[in-house]
């Protein structure tokens, strides 16, 4: 980087400007990544956080995907699943939405009915909290929106539930979760969805479980827990829009980096011709040029990431935003790789510069 580093100091204005562009692009990518992850968690964390490995839903009609909103299982299906080979636990649970009120506070909540204390299936509530009929466990989001705490009485359409505890941060379909006993959920959901046993089953399985065969036999569809977010309505539409925006920004960053280094290479083509005439190998010059691109990208991506994390921390209570190292690492790496790809295409011009032009050049 002998020449590269000195060129960058010499043309610091141009390189600072380019680095700032990368900072802004990475800031945007980081914010969209945080928003994507935040919205995904707000939409699906209640199901993706269940302490099981698979989820079973009713088999979809032809041409449709499995969805919690269209799923309803019978008691027989749940019973057969609990007896299937390789299934250690098949905990039924119900999913729905409702409006909850408490002392003048009202909130749209997601209602998760789970096995009550003493019923088979075990607790699915964060921290293994038990729930009995007539009681509810609130996520922190629900507790904050309703200003509720243990002992308060919550009103849902046709039901009054006493708050037993506040546990977890789960939400579903962008509404905080309230956990209640499955029979209470059935009564609550009965009006809208008809009488059913449960929306889905939460499975703990072993390696010898033949999930496909059991699905075929019982008319269900079983998915890995980590894929369950795709069974939440609106998740894919929301997520794909944001992913498209992020992909577009990454492509723009590659184009901008490539365009900058294309112009930069043209501007220094005389210097490159001189170095070639003096005996510099083309590989040395290409490495030197790519080192400049790498320095600009790494500095810009690091600063942009730091800004995105800081901005995310500032807005995390206002908008659904979740940005951690894992969420940031993939887009940052993609931006670096695509930026270097763009720069590589641009600095290919180095190979075409004829050292003979140095004989007639004036510098």
């Amino acid at each position: 980087m002998f020449v590269a580093w000195r060129d960058m100091r010499f043309a610091r204005g141009r390189f600072t400007l380019m680095t700032l562009v990368v900072v802004l692009l990475m800031l945007l990518v980081g914010l969209i990544s945080g928003l994507t992850e935040g919205l995904a968690r707000s939409s699906t964390s209640a199901v993706t956080g269940l302490p099981v490995d698979h989820l079973t839903l009713a088999a979809p009609s032809d041409g449709e995907d499995a969805a919690f909103e269209r799923s309803m299982l019978s008691r027989e299906q749940a019973h057969e699943w609990s007896r299937a080979t390789g299934v250690e636990r098949a905990a039924p649970f119900g999913v729905g939405t409702a409006r909850a009120e408490l002392d003048g506070h009202a909130a749209r909540i997601s209602v998760f009915g789970v096995a009550a204390s003493g019923e088979p299936g075990g607790s699915l509530i964060p921290g293994g909290q038990p729930v009995a009929r007539g009681a509810a466990v609130l996520s922190t989001g629900a507790a904050e929106e309703l200003d509720a705490g243990p002992g308060d009485v919550l009103t849902l359409p046709g039901h009054s539930l006493r708050v037993r505890a506040v546990a977890g941060t789960d939400s579903y379909s962008h509404a905080p979760v309230v956990w209640l006993a499955l029979p209470d959920w059935r009564e609550l959901a009965g009006g809208a969805q008809g009488a059913g046993y449960a929306t889905a089953l939460a499975l703990d399985t072993t390696a010898d479980a033949d999930l496909a065969a059991t699905d075929a036999r019982l008319g269900t569809t079983t998915i890995a827990r980590d894929d369950a977010r795709h069974a939440v309505s609106s998740f894919d539409a929301e997520n794909s829009s944001l992913q498209a925006m992020r992909g577009l920004l990454l492509a723009i960053s590659a184009l901008v980096t490539g365009a900058f280094f294309a112009v930069w290479t043209i501007q220094r083509s005389t210097d490159i011709a001189v170095l070639k005439a003096l005996g510099a190998a083309t590989g040395y010059l290409v490495r030197d040029a790519l080192a400049q691109a790498c320095a600009v990208l790494v500095a810009g991506i690091a600063a942009g990431s730091a800004l995105a994390v800081a901005t995310g921390a500032a807005v995390s209570g206002v908008v659904p935003f979740a940005l951690d190292a894992g969420t940031l690492l993939a887009p940052a790496t993609a931006m670096l790789v695509l930026g270097l790809l763009g720069a590589s295409l641009a600095v290919r011009r180095v190979t075409a510069i004829d050292p003979l032009t140095a004989l007639g050049s004036a510098r």
Partner: protein, 227 residues
């Protein structure tokens, strides 16, 4: 001979025909001597230098640098030869604007793929040899035309080349500075035993060179021994 051109012919495309820039040119330049190449514009002086510098491959003939025949060499091998055995001083200094005077020399060590702690001190000694010890940390735009050309000469010598090719180094300088540059080249040639080719159109600077050859229409004319 340290630099030898034997029956070198070079042509360029010129519409439907070809223009002959060098016509069966043969030239031998021994170590420790300066050969001046003179001739009118368009006579082939720069083509001769470009062929000797391995920047152009001739149509026929052979160029030998310090015993190494260059015909058949690929681009990478020619670049390696230039790094190792050839020093080139351009008509204009062609210094890199981002580097100081001493760094202009150090870059030669970098492109040679060798980095030694002594590179800096060696570059400073060479700058001192061309009278620029106190200008080592100035950038090209802070140096005069003559000083820039001296830096270019020092740069060409950093890798101890066997052959020094100099293309009209005085064209942008006044008479006194031009004479000083030619004196410097002759002195360094003697000290370092390089085979130096000095292309110029200024006959007045040639009193100190060992041989003069004249190019006319791509051919080498009579050689004039210098007394």
């Amino acid at each position: 001979m340290t630099l030898s051109l034997h029956d070198v012919t070079l042509t360029y495309p010129d519409g439907d025909s070809r223009l002959t820039a060098l016509d069966n040119v043969s030239l031998d330049v021994p170590a420790g001597s300066v050969t001046g190449v003179v001739g009118p514009s368009g006579s082939g002086k720069s083509s001769l230098l470009a062929v000797a510098a391995t920047l152009i491959t001739p149509d026929s003939g052979e160029v030998t640098v310090d015993g190494t025949a260059t015909s058949g060499m690929d681009r990478a091998a020619r670049a390696a030869l230039r790094r190792r055995d050839l020093g080139i001083v351009f008509q204009q200094p062609n210094l890199l604007p981002s580097l100081t005077a001493v760094e202009q020399l150090e870059v030669m060590a970098r492109i040679s793929g060798r980095r030694r702690p002594s590179d800096r001190s060696r570059a400073e000694r060479l700058l001192a040899a061309v009278g620029l010890a106190d200008q080592a940390h100035r950038k090209p735009q802070q140096l005069s035309g003559g000083q820039r050309q001296r830096v270019a000469i020092a740069r060409a010598l950093l890798n101890d080349p066997a052959v020094l090719l100099v293309d009209e180094p005085t064209s942008a300088l006044d008479r006194d500075r031009g004479a000083a540059i030619v004196d410097l080249l002759v002195t360094l040639t003697r000290q370092r035993s390089t085979a130096t080719v000095l292309v110029t159109h200024d006959h007045e600077y040639l009193s100190e060179v060992d041989h003069i050859v004249e190019m006319i229409d791509g051919r080498l004319g009579t050689r004039q021994p210098i007394g």
